[in-house]
């Protein structure tokens, strides 16, 4: 199954939910959805064969003022699908980082949502156990993976001096 064929199938599966679908480097498919529909989309994707969350990526676009949450889904059971990773992406505003949890659809997202919570301060509503997992609470307060958390030491040697 080529990536274009998979995109067609995802399109027919998600219908209007998929706002935009992009293929990156032939094996990574990014599906843009709305925050409101994320649970329905996840349910449909799981039925389709993407049975676990490969990883949950949050990207901070500080200048544009939003977080992009990407659930990268993979498949263990379906050989054809397992070649691809499908990223279900949606944006949430930076000043109100609250979204819904997918814990009850994908158990594999459990610790990853906790990671996103501690590193970006994103609250996943409905997650049963939303605590920091890697960081200690005082460090998690700083929300270290946000772009406005600046690493003090700048190890760069080759930088243009202003």
């Amino acid at each position: 199954m080529g990536p274009e064929e998979l995109v067609e199938r995802i399109k027919s599966l998600l219908g209007d939910f998929a706002k935009d679908i992009k293929i990156w480097k032939n094996d990574y498919i990014e599906v843009e959805v709305d925050k409101e529909n994320i649970e329905e989309v996840a349910k449909r994707m799981k039925e389709f064969g993407f049975d676990h969350v490969k990883d949950l990526t949050v990207v901070d676009y500080m200048k544009e003022g939003f977080f992009r949450i990407i659930y990268n889904l993979g498949s263990y059971d379906n050989f054809e699908l397992s070649y691809y990773i499908v990223g279900i992406a949606y944006n949430i505003p930076r000043d109100k980082p609250v979204t819904k949890t997918l814990y009850y659809i994908y158990t594999s997202a459990d610790f990853q949502e906790r990671e996103a919570y501690e590193a970006f301060g994103i609250t996943f509503e409905g997650h049963p156990d939303l605590r920091p997992v890697l960081l200690s609470p005082p460090v998690a307060e700083l929300k270290p993976l946000r772009k406005d958390f600046v690493v003090k030491e700048d190890p760069e040697i080759i930088t243009k001096k202003k």
């Binding site: 676990h52 610790f111 958390f149 190890p155 040697i157």
Partner: protein, 416 residues
């Protein structure tokens, strides 16, 4: 919470039971809370908070992060090339496997591909690393079950593979071997013969392991039907690597999403159906056998093909004549200055690889600068950490080391 002890506003402990000189906290009727780790001999650099009712664990809460090294954040403030030595600190004895997907993701963004010889060399080191990492896991597993011989033997035999890796790359553990567009060194003269000798030796030793450890009645009693991960649960939790395959799922990144030259090599993916700790031991033994087969094929290929450049032209053409002379004489490819100032075209790439402990994935996003915009790593041990929360409850306290050892959890890799 009446009995909270506070020092300067920070909550440091509870004193619900009013015991003299010690903190105490009520957690439930007839429950006993034990902290396994991080200074406990049966834990790695992690803590598992278990609550036991009698001898049975009713709740387990893995508390990771004791060796968290902020790799995702650090990578955002360092140039692209510095990511390689940074990320291999996740699993130093599995360095090639854990950095390879990063290198490949950046290569994908730059639309380049390593020369074929470099691909074979990467596979060579990956499999050497894989065997060494399995042996390391076996050693830890052995000592968790009180089997000191199984602790010493694999650690001794691992030395063979570590020395081979040192001969190939110049470093015992953190090799920094794969770089963008190729690898750093070609095989030294006589390497393939030593490799074949090591393969023969390892096959013999696996038989010894079987006799003293895998078929040992005490070990079998400890491992059979312990820590069973059913197939559907393994998929649901996203367990990975040998643990997933021991539960009956035929999934291996080398097969499902072939990278480098794995699609040209002849190997099998062993699968066990039982899903218990004992199946996971056999799974690893079988995987070592498959890795030995792969190494044999790589050695044959390297013998047949003469030395050709091991770096992509994009980087190699800028190399000064002195570097090319050194490469011709010794097989070492010195990295040009172009690596320090390289920029990666904007875009996103997702790349994964099969490490010894399972699948590692990198999401790499570039905005066209000389540093990554965002790198998200999710490593094999981080996926497997869910086992503690969902599989361990219901087992006895003495099963915890058996399960811990059998899923081959490696805290630095999980904490990133």
């Amino acid at each position: 919470m009446s009995g909270i002890i506070r020092t300067q506003g920070a909550q440091v402990g509870f004193n619900d039971l009013k015991l003299p000189g010690m903190w105490s906290r009520k957690i439930g009727k007839d429950l006993y809370e034990i902290f396994i780790g991080p200074q406990h001999p049966g834990s790695g650099h992690m803590r598992i908070v278990i609550r036991i009712d009698g001898d049975v664990i009713v709740e387990a809460d893995p508390d990771m992060g004791y060796v968290h090294r902020t790799m995702e954040k650090l990578s955002e403030v360092r140039t692209w090339i510095k990511g390689i030595p940074l990320f291999e600190r996740m699993a130093i004895h599995d360095a090639c496997n854990v950095t390879l997907p990063y290198v490949r993701a950046v290569e994908k963004l730059m639309d380049i591909e390593a020369p074929e010889r470099a691909k074979y060399l990467r596979v060579l080191l990956c499999e050497i690393n894989r065997i060494a990492a399995f042996l390391y896991g076996f050693g830890i597993f052995g000592v968790f079950l009180g089997h000191s011989t199984m602790y010493m033997w694999p650690f001794g035999d691992r030395e063979v593979w570590v020395e081979l890796a040192e001969w190939l790359t110049g470093a015992r553990l953190t090799h920094s071997y794969p770089v963008f567009g190729g690898v750093r060194r070609d095989v030294p003269a006589g390497f393939t013969d030593a490799l074949r000798k090591a393969i023969r030796y390892m096959r013999k030793r696996l038989e010894d392991y079987r006799k003293i450890f895998v078929d040992n009645p005490v070990i079998r009693a400890r491992l059979e039907d312990v820590g069973v991960i059913p197939k559907n649960l393994a998929i649901e939790l996203g367990i990975t690597g040998p643990n997933l395959r021991a539960s009956g799922v035929k999934y291996d990144v080398r097969l499902n999403h072939p990278y480098e030259v794995y699609d040209q090599l002849d190997f099998e993916i062993p699968v066990f159906q039982e899903g218990d700790a004992y199946a996971r031991v056999w799974q690893r033994v079988e995987e070592i056998k498959q890795s030995l087969n792969i190494l044999e094929q790589v050695a044959d290929w390297l013998d047949k093909h003469p030395r050709t450049p091991i770096l992509h032209d994009k980087f190699w053409k800028t190399a000064p004549p002195l570097y090319k002379k050194i490469f011709e004489e010794t097989g070492r490819a010195k990295l040009g200055a172009v690596y320090a100032i390289m920029k990666v075209p904007a875009g996103k790439a997702y790349e994964r690889a099969e490490t010894a402990r399972g699948e590692i994935s990198y999401y790499v996003e570039s905005n066209g600068g000389n540093k990554p915009y965002r790198i998200r790593i999710h490593s094999a041990s981080a996926r497997n950490a869910l086992v503690y929360k969902y599989i361990v409850p219901g087992h006895r306290v003495m099963d915890l080391p058996a399960i811990y050892g059998s899923i081959d959890y490696f805290p630095p890799e999980a904490d990133r």
